[in-house]
């Protein structure tokens, strides 16, 4: 680990002031950043500990929830309103990592998790455009079982590893940010980037900007939602693919639907094409598969991940089938 200075922020203003200096990183639960620092992938000169800020979950006036960036993953999954009104979020969190890590990890930090691409981690021995822009990508011709099939670029085929973020993408969450230039609200789908030629940038956060909260809008749809994760062992593994979905049925037709995929792209993948294909239709398995097929029509599989479009298609169909059965009952 490269030497660094450590300070705790007393409040957001404090954090922004200290965070304005170049080379500073904000520290949440440390579950990803400390690991990256130990691997020398991240080498901040200063850590500003913001894990003690904004750890509240509050009702918003419009009936949604405002989740402080310092809320621990466990606390969010445990919250009664999340369990009853946003089950997809509780399930996504509980599907991620291990209990110990969920006890440490913060909501803000979870949004800023970095990819599990092994070439990204291999600072000494591999080329990675996400680590060093322009150095090349060893993943494209190497082990890429966990890599992207949608939205990738020549420069980068990495995936975003978060489970929680897949649920947030499906829930139309809003990321509340404060920074040197003031506060702004970022729609969740716009928060994470596709890699393009700058895969080093995972999000659109400007230097010095700090996530202070995530807001969930009120949506009755969300109460009828779930998350399914498919992985190489029964627990404690990153997703090969995952599906977050919410669905409502009126008069035998899909009235509204939200779908996001994890493990398929550089960002949590909001499946707008699939949603469009489903809305207003009579639900059945063939429709579900067609909707998923539409979403993955442009998929570009790599050497090891050619199974992902089919797996995603089948998993989505199963999840929608389950939600439809539940909705009908």
């Amino acid at each position: 680990m490269t030497p660094f200075d450590y300070a705790r922020a007393g409040d957001v203003a404090d954090a922004l002031r200290m965070g304005a200096i170049e080379g500073t990183a904000f520290l949440g639960g440390g579950t990803n950043l400390v690991d990256l620092m130990r691997e020398t992938v991240a080498r901040p000169a200063r850590l500003i500990d913001v894990s003690g800020l904004s750890d509240r979950i509050e009702e918003t006036p419009d009936g949604g929830l405002r989740i402080g960036a310092g809320v621990r993953n466990t606390a969010l999954a445990e919250h009664a309103a999340v369990r009853s009104r946003y089950p997809v979020l509780a399930r996504a969190i509980l599907a991620g990592a291990s209990a110990q890590i969920r006890n440490m990890a913060t909501v803000g930090g979870n949004l800023l998790q970095r990819t599990r691409c092994t070439y990204f981690y291999d600072t000494d021995g591999s080329r990675c455009n996400k680590r060093v822009v322009g150095s090349g990508c060893d993943a494209r011709g190497g082990f890429n079982r966990i890599h992207a099939v949608l939205g990738a670029s020549d420069a980068c085929v990495a995936t975003h590893p978060s489970d929680m973020c897949v649920a947030l993408a499906a829930l139309d969450a809003v990321v509340q940010v404060e920074g040197p230039a003031g506060a702004r609200a970022i729609a969740f789908d716009a928060f994470h980037r596709l890699p393009g030629d700058r895969p080093d940038l995972d999000t659109i956060l400007a230097p010095g900007e700090l996530i202070v909260a995530v807001e969930l809008p009120a949506n009755p749809l969300a109460a009828h939602s779930t998350y399914r994760k498919v992985r190489d062992r029964a627990s404690y593994a990153f997703a090969l693919i995952s599906v977050a979905a919410a669905l409502s049925i009126e008069e035998g037709r899909i009235a509204d639907v939200r779908i996001a995929f994890g493990g398929v792209a550089h960002k949590p993948w909001r499946a707008v094409k699939a949603e469009a294909a489903l809305k207003g239709q009579v639900p059945d398995d063939a429709l579900f598969r067609a909707a998923a097929a539409a979403e993955f029509a442009d998929a570009q599989p790599l050497r090891d991940n050619g199974f992902k479009p089919l797996l995603a298609q089948r998993t989505l169909a199963a999840v929608l089938g389950e939600l439809t059965t539940g909705a009908a009952a």
């Binding site: 680990m1 490269t2 030497p3 130990r38 020398t40 599990r116 092994t118 070439y119 981690y121 291999d122 600072t123 000494d124 021995g125 591999s126 060893d138 011709g141 190497g142 082990f143 079982r145 498919v230 190489d232 062992r233 029964a234 627990s235 404690y236 593994a237 990153f238 090969l240 050619g306 199974f307 089919l310 797996l311 089948r314 998993t315 169909a317 199963a318």
Partner: protein, 779 residues
């Protein structure tokens, strides 16, 4: 029956019981005509009674000190830098930034490392345990991607790690063979194991196969694996008054100390290596470069050193199991009897080691077949030296063989259990030797009954919701070994009117339960309660050399303790002299019983150990003896066996496989401690489940670099992957081994991957011949 008759019988029983309880001196030989170890006849003693492991309280409270938990005054911390090319030379080293970094004590490379001999490679002599033939920091050559090329010592681990990250190396690369196809194109050689060709030919297997009315001929592949003990490899060491003291994590303390002594040109007694606790090994806890580098750095810096490999470091420095490509072809008559068995293929090793994965070993004695062709070819790739990993050979060989048997059973429409039983040999089909003890049919019958094998569904017919359910079975096998060189030191110390015994063996305890089992056996042999026996192990200062490898440690210790007990008895009789009730009896005429020696003919003629010592004015008595040469192999084919049953669910949507039930029915001689034995069996099975479903070391064929050197990316089973595992055993003693026991550390993993693959086939109709069985292969 009259009351009198009944009383007579009871009295006779008591007398017989008393006689049986006496443990006469065990025969120190295992040749035909030799008498079985008398402990085998003792049915109601400590042996076979479940005993909790004696080191349990220390382990559950964090009080057991592992190698990286010893401390020396003024100790420095080591960090390694690893090569990033597969082959070539280091032409320049920029160490200025590292040397200037805070806390740095030493930067050691091949330029300033002390001159050392290359550790003699494993197998080149009785004590040689070096990993390969590569000189350690003695020249500029790079032999694999990941080879240690520099070591930094600093005041703290954080400082050492940081400084190591500042080192910059320039290389002159040479062409390297890092792709399997390229390695094969360069040609293959005959594989040798322990100096012997991995090749058997009996009859004409190809011709018999061609003529067989029923046959399968398939190709199976297995990837590289890593042991991944949860304790990373580490050593804490110091040069103290010319003695190199090493606290290590070792499966072979004496051999490692000896090899280290040779590396540094020291007399054997100038290296002291202790390793009382080993946090898992599975074949990996031996001598690798890190201990040599740390000792060299300690010498150069004049400071004690702790070297604790990072998890990535373990993957760069400590070899794993190599890959295999296997062909299994079986020809059979309509009644299922095998007419031809071909098991051949390829394994990979390096230019600098000699360890093909000997996947045909288990096949040699498996089935009665008149025509057999077995062969392992080997190709060489520029990688870290591969090594032994739990059941080297059998673990992956049984996957191929036992999958093929299942395929043939389907072809013949014969139940796979019955097909195996139908081909049970009456003698070893390749060596021609009689089996010392083989009760696999019993294991099959008992296992099938308990598992409910008769309920196995027709292929791809049983469903529960999204899950397709199937059952599979397979045979596991592992040989009985006993290596020469074991010694035991027995000490009896007077403690009032009783004695305490100490048994010391240069063995290793990695969690197998060796310490506990050794105490049980010694207590039983000496006729002492368990709490009067203390066991010492894991220290090179103890005489003899015992390896926790090849599942042979228990037998090796057992034979050494027998020899020491014999010597102790003779010495005690001499000490007892003419004033003893035992006067006039020879060592062969007495046995140990209830804290003393007694006449075998008249148990009432006896004297306690304490009394003998007291009369002789002695506080203690000590003997050290070597076990007899392992001659049993010359006369018998000696193996353990298992019949494995597995039930899986395969998700019809995602292809995910979950093991729902597992049963292992074992035939491994007499079980000494059922509690720890059950754990050994289960542990092997769990590792087998990992091999079946998820484990693979990702080796990038472009760079020769391992790309998942991490427990996050190399998947081992987690709690939710492990079903309740039922284990049973025949408990039939092998009359030709100490205690009638077989080693059981490795048998557990064998056959498991095949049992899973066969169950997956039964569930889905899909045959997966390439491990691991990941979900993408089943979509």
């Amino acid at each position: 029956m009259s009351i009198i008759d009944s009383a007579k019988q009871t009295a006779q029983g008591l007398v017989m019981g008393a006689l049986q309880k006496l443990v006469p001196l065990a025969p120190d030989s295992w040749i035909p005509g030799g008498v079985p170890d008398p402990l085998i006849a003792r049915k109601h003693g400590l042996i076979g009674t479940p005993v909790s492991r004696l080191d349990g309280p220390l382990k559950v409270s964090g009080g057991a000190a592992f190698s990286a938990e010893y401390r020396f005054e003024n100790m420095a911390y080591a960090a390694l830098a690893y090569a990033t090319i597969a082959r070539g030379r280091v032409t320049a080293i920029d160490s200025a930034a590292a040397e200037a970094a805070p806390g740095v004590v030493l930067v050691m490379t091949h330029r300033n490392a002390p001159r050392m001999k290359t550790p003699a490679m494993f197998g080149t002599s009785g004590s040689a345990v070096g990993p390969d033939t590569v000189p350690i920091l003695q020249d500029d050559k790079v032999h694999w991607n990941g080879q240690p090329i520099a070591c930094v010592l600093a005041e703290t681990q954080e400082q050492a790690d940081h400084a190591a990250s500042l080192l910059r190396f320039t290389y002159a690369e040479l062409p390297a063979v890092t792709a399997l196809a390229a390695a094969k194109a360069k040609g293959v050689e005959q594989g040798l194991f322990m100096g012997q060709p991995l090749r058997n030919e009996i009859g004409d297997a190809e011709a018999a196969l061609a003529a067989a009315p029923h046959k399968v001929d398939r190709r199976y592949t297995t990837p590289r694996h890593n042991h991944n003990p949860i304790e990373p490899h580490a050593a804490t060491l110091a040069w103290i008054d010319g003695v190199l003291v090493i606290h290590d994590a070792s499966q072979m303390v004496a051999q490692q100390a000896q090899t280290m002594a040779e590396v540094f040109g020291l007399k054997a007694d100038k290296v002291r290596l202790t390793s009382p606790y080993v946090g898992g090994g599975f074949g990996s806890k031996g001598l690798w470069e890190h201990q040599v580098i740390a000792a060299a750095a300690a010498k150069l810096a004049g400071r004690p050193v702790r070297i604790a490999l990072s998890r990535e470091g373990v993957y760069r420095v400590v070899g794993g199991r190599t890959l295999t490509e296997q062909r299994v072809a079986i020809g059979a008559a309509a009644d299922g009897r095998f007419t031809a068995l071909i098991h051949t293929g390829l394994s990979v090793m390096t230019p600098h080691n000699a360890m093909p994965e000997p996947f045909i070993l288990g096949t040699r004695s498996a089935y009665a077949v008149p025509n057999i062709a077995l062969n392992v070819d080997v190709a060489r790739m520029q990688t870290l030296a591969n090594t032994f990993m739990r059941a080297p050979g059998e673990a992956v060989g049984t996957f191929a063989l036992e999958s093929a048997i299942d395929e043939l059973a389907g072809e013949l429409n014969i139940d796979p259990v019955e097909l195996r039983i139908r081909n049970e040999p009456d003698k070893d089909p390749t060596s021609g030797l009689p089996f010392s003890s083989r009760h696999i049919v019993t294991a099959w019958r008992q296992g099938a009954e308990r598992f409910g094998w008769r309920d196995r569904p027709e292929t791809a017919t049983r469903r529960e919701g999204e899950w397709r359910i199937g059952m599979g079975c397979a045979t596991g096998t592992y040989p009985y070994y006993r290596m020469p060189g074991a010694k035991a030191r027995l000490t009896l110390t007077r403690d009032g009117d009783a004695v305490r015994a100490s048994v010391e063996v240069a063995a290793a305890e990695m969690g197998m339960g060796t310490g506990t089992t050794t105490a049980i056996v010694a207590a039983e042999r000496l006729g002492l309660p368990l709490d009067r026996v203390e066991v010492g192990y894991g220290d090179s200062a103890i005489p003899g050399a015992i390896m926790a490898g090849g599942s042979q440690q228990t037998a090796a210790i057992g034979a050494a303790v027998i020899a020491a007990h014999n010597a102790l008895t003779a010495k005690l009789l001499k000490l007892a002299g003419n004033d003893s009730p035992l006067a006039g009896l020879s060592a062969k005429e007495v046995g140990s019983d209830s804290g003393g020696l007694a006449s075998l003919d008249d148990p009432a003629q006896r004297e306690s150990y304490a009394s003998i010592l007291k009369r002789a004015g002695r506080d203690s008595i000590e003997v050290t003896e070597a076990g007899s040469p392992p001659l049993e192999f010359m006369h018998w084919s000696m193996h353990s066996h298992s019949a494995l049953f597995c039930e899986v669910g395969v998700n019809d949507v995602t292809g995910e496989v979950r093991v729902r039930r597992f049963l292992g029915s074992f035939d491994c001689g007499r079980i000494l401690n059922p509690r720890t034995a059950a754990s050994q069996f289960r542990g092997g099975i769990v590792m087998g489940l990992g091999m079946a479903l998820m484990e693979e070391t990702q080796f990038d064929e472009r760079s020769g670099r391992i790309m998942n050197p991490s427990l996050a990316e190399y998947h081992v089973p987690v709690h939710l992957d492990v079903p309740e595992i039922d284990v049973i055993w025949t408990d039939i003693p092998d009359p030709h081994t100490p205690m009638g026991a077989h080693g059981i550390g490795e048998i557990g993993i064998t056959g498991v991957a095949a049992a899973v693959a066969n169950a997956v086939h039964n569930a889905t109709g899909r045959r997966i011949r390439d491990l691991p069985i990941t979900l993408d292969k089943l979509l």
